[in-house]
């Protein structure tokens, strides 16, 4: 496209109206020695040409939607109804900005109000914000909210070692200037029951994930009480896979104080991991410590229902250095995707998706467990992801699946990358997108690898 619409005549007329002779005069205040550098960008392409280049680049990638895939670890391949992208493609939604002018932003504001309601219903919580960047930054904001609930008087936070490694890392990045004591994941193999025991009266929060990074459903029954008692009202924050909530009892029912997670499974593509969506909900009594935008219902001067951004005195543009967070731009259009996804699937659809994930993952686990050389490691019930101990390093197996097998298969996640004690352990994700034949082929390929590996070892 042509990026500026001005004709030469218009340009001259405008310069004249401003009272300058030429374009350069508008930049008189830029020191001359720095003005108009040569940038050295590549020669510009037309739309026709750039699309060709981008098509080539995109085709240089292996598309996981067109390839049997068993990779999860935080980002999942789910089916997205066509209606989601249809709504997201409306220019009225995606070319608007933060709804500062409520009267001409009722579309966005109403959708966010629905989003907040859906997240509350899904998680069993009282109030949700209009998003964080992703699950990891939502985790960091959960830590900061809990810290602020105790007005900074407590410095200790306990993390379950089974919390997503990226979440644990981002919590540390965000809080490196706050002087916190972050414990719980020093010994990565420590069981949850023992980690909870680290919660004491100096602790402001305990952060746990369910299904955890290994896919296991953590026993939340009694956990909130234990954290509240040991930690004298310390907060329990729970990260959760939103699809699992189509089936499982929500953390809110177990007494969690904050529930958050990554909303990528709710109608967003893989997109190489971003943008996703950090959803976040808490109890009403903590709403003033919560970060992010919040939409509330109100009425106009004629009494008609409408929606506005509300409780803004928590935010950076009002409270500046005393704000609950610096967040401004968030994941607006992603919240719309989640809203449309949850509406389109609805009560029946989300439950069916969750059930398909559960049953297919268990079918896959059962078949893999029957293979010689492979052991499914599952001490607790799991949802759509599980750990397999393999006969060889996972990198070798994945290389075999991708390059040596009859056709390309994208294998599971190599857990030794984050958990050194889990060498040869693969995290396998199975969703509604994995057909039975795909699972059966994966199992066959794993068997073939074991046979081939056995021969190699013996040789």
């Amino acid at each position: 496209m042509v990026f500026v619409p001005h004709t030469e005549e218009e340009r001259q007329a405008m310069l004249k109206a401003i009272g300058v002779e030429k374009m350069d005069d508008l930049f008189y205040d830029v020191p001359a020695k720095y003005r108009y550098p040569t940038l050295g960008l590549e020669a510009p392409l037309t739309e026709m040409e750039v699309l060709e280049e981008l098509q080539e680049l995109s085709e240089a990638n292996l598309n996981a939607y067109r390839t049997p895939t068993f990779l999860g670890a935080g980002i999942y391949r789910h089916w997205v109804p066509a209606v989601v992208d249809y709504v997201l493609s409306r220019g009225e939604f995606y070319t608007a900005y933060t709804p500062y002018q409520a009267e001409i932003s009722q579309g966005t504001l109403t959708a966010i109000f629905e989003y907040q309601s859906l997240i509350c219903d899904l998680t069993g919580m009282e109030v949700a914000n209009a998003s964080h960047y992703d699950g990891a930054t939502a985790a960091a904001e959960a830590v900061i909210q809990a810290y602020n609930v105790f007005r900074g008087k407590r410095k200790k936070v306990v993390l379950a070692p089974t919390l997503h490694p990226h979440y644990r890392e981002v919590i540390r990045t965000y809080t490196q200037g706050m002087g916190l004591e972050i414990v719980g994941d020093e010994a990565l193999e420590k069981p949850l029951e023992e980690v909870v025991e680290m919660v004491d009266e100096q602790t402001f929060a305990f952060i746990v994930q369910t299904p955890n990074f290994f896919g296991e459903i953590e026993p939340l029954e009694g956990l909130a009480d234990e954290v509240h008692t040991r930690g004298k009202k310390a907060l329990l924050a729970v990260a959760v896979n939103p699809i699992s909530l189509g089936l499982l009892k929500p953390p809110g029912e177990y007494g969690a104080d904050i529930v958050f997670g990554d909303g990528q499974p709710l109608g967003l593509g893989l997109n190489f991991g971003g943008p996703t969506l950090g959803f976040y909900a808490t109890k009403m009594r903590y709403v003033h410590q919560m970060a992010g935008r919040i939409v509330g219902e109100t009425k106009d001067v004629e009494g008609k229902r409408g929606f506005v951004l509300t409780l803004t005195s928590r935010e950076q543009h009002i409270r500046r250095h005393r704000a609950t967070s610096n967040i401004c731009s968030n994941q607006g259009i992603m919240t719309l995707a989640a809203t449309v996804y949850l509406s389109a699937l609805g009560k029946d659809g989300l439950r069916k998706v969750a059930l398909a994930n559960y049953h297919k993952a268990h079918y896959a686990a059962e078949r893999i467990a029957a293979l010689p050389g492979y052991t499914v490691v599952a001490d607790k019930p799991f949802f759509n992801e599980f750990v397999v101990e393999c006969p060889a390093p996972v990198a070798e197996i994945n290389d075999f699946l991708l390059n040596e097998w009859d056709y390309e298969i994208i294998g599971g996640y190599d857990l030794s990358r984050d958990y050194p004690h889990l060498a040869r352990h693969m995290l396998v994700a199975v969703t509604e997108m994995n057909g039975r034949d795909e699972i059966d082929d994966f199992v066959e390929a794993l068997r073939a690898f074991a046979d081939y590996h056995q021969v190699e070892v013996e040789a």
């Binding site: 240089a60 067109r66 579309g107």
Partner: protein, 485 residues
Amino acid sequence: MTEPLIFELSIPGRKGVRLPELDVPESELPADLLRDDLPLPEVSEVDVVRHYLRLSQLNYAVDKGIYPLGSCTMKYNPKINEVAARLPGFVGIHPLQDELTVQGALYLMYHLQEQLKAISGFDAISLQPAAGAHGELTGVLIMRKYHLDRGETQRDTMLIPDSAHGTNPASTSMSGLRVVEIPSDARGNVDLEAMKAYMNERLIGIMITNPNTLGLFDENLEAICQMVHEAGGLVYGDGANMNALMGIMRPAEIGIDVMHFNLHKTFSTPHGGGGPGSGPVGVVAKLADFLPAPIVVKEEDAEEEAPLYTFYDPPKSIGRVKSFWGHFSVMIKAYTYIRMLGDEGVRRAAEHAVLNANYLLSRIRDVYPLPYDRICKHEFVVEGRFEDAPGVRALDIAKRLIDYGVHPPTNYFPLIVHEALMIEPTETESKQEVDRYADILLKIAEEAKTDPDLLHEAPHNAPVRRLDEVYAARQKILRYRRDQQ
């Protein structure tokens, strides 16, 4: 507005989608872990499409007309960007796939890093930050860690001009540092005299927005950078206003050490009703080792024909600032845009952004009070008040603009201007559209004197009339409740 909520359209038993029959045997479910009720809407696909289409029609957007929201750079979002980001080979890649299977994506990220380096003059870029404020936090943490790494643990003070975005002080205090506000001088520049008192061993640095939020190029910028550097501090550049300067000046050359870009402002990616943004951070060489992990590097291998693009963790990294690799699909859009502009195109965009702003200012300057009378950059700030219409405020003017079918400017920011109206037309608006906006502003100024109630009661022609924000804050109705409706 009569559009019900999606919950109010729900009919028990109605279904919208059909899923394939389960093709594997069922396993036993953990009975004690199951939820009793899943209170989601029960609607058809037709219900969903019509509901959200009707909602969309209640919005104003760039695709409808001029959206001169100051500081937000609401330029037109090229449609090719959307096509590019939706190519199956981009949407369909998992972030943990083998690097050899995502070379197209890594190539794009590497070359976007290179494009941003060329435009800014920085030596290294991280694409990981998710938005401008996120980039600020990243940059401030880098500054902090740089000083700590040099053993200068006493440094704890960040200077922030009083015209700064609220995210600057918020990012600084999140990093555990002390904020000192620096006033602006009579020409709208940072007050150099006021800075002098802080040029000591406690200085972390300064966060400076240039052009600043008044839309003015800080005439002291070079001096500020020198002064801060001499005191051992670093200069953070808030790149929110880069649209005025791309192709005009490279921030690194004048002395900025670290800066975030807003791909969703300067580089044409859509704002999405609030996001996603993308806030890459650029740094000078001495800060490169502190960037958040990972960044993309190119490995030239003599034996292979094509170079291999791979992730690299800088050795002194502040750590990861989000999961995975950043907002990849936003990066695709920015890359596409810059690839279509080239050197001349980026300069032309900046020039016309500045031309449009100054032209609009020239059209209204005799009517709207102008606190700082200088050639502006991509935006300017006037006061939304008139001596001969004492009851009229910036808010009234903003709401009256809605009646004329255009988007109001940012109002009540920056905080140092009374009744501020901050106007940024952007380069993609034609002279006709800018003229139309000027005409409306002039007409409203007239109405303020002849019929002020027309302004006080505005908007009259919107899906809803003026909304009661106090009521919302007091009632705290933050979700739909079946039992209460």
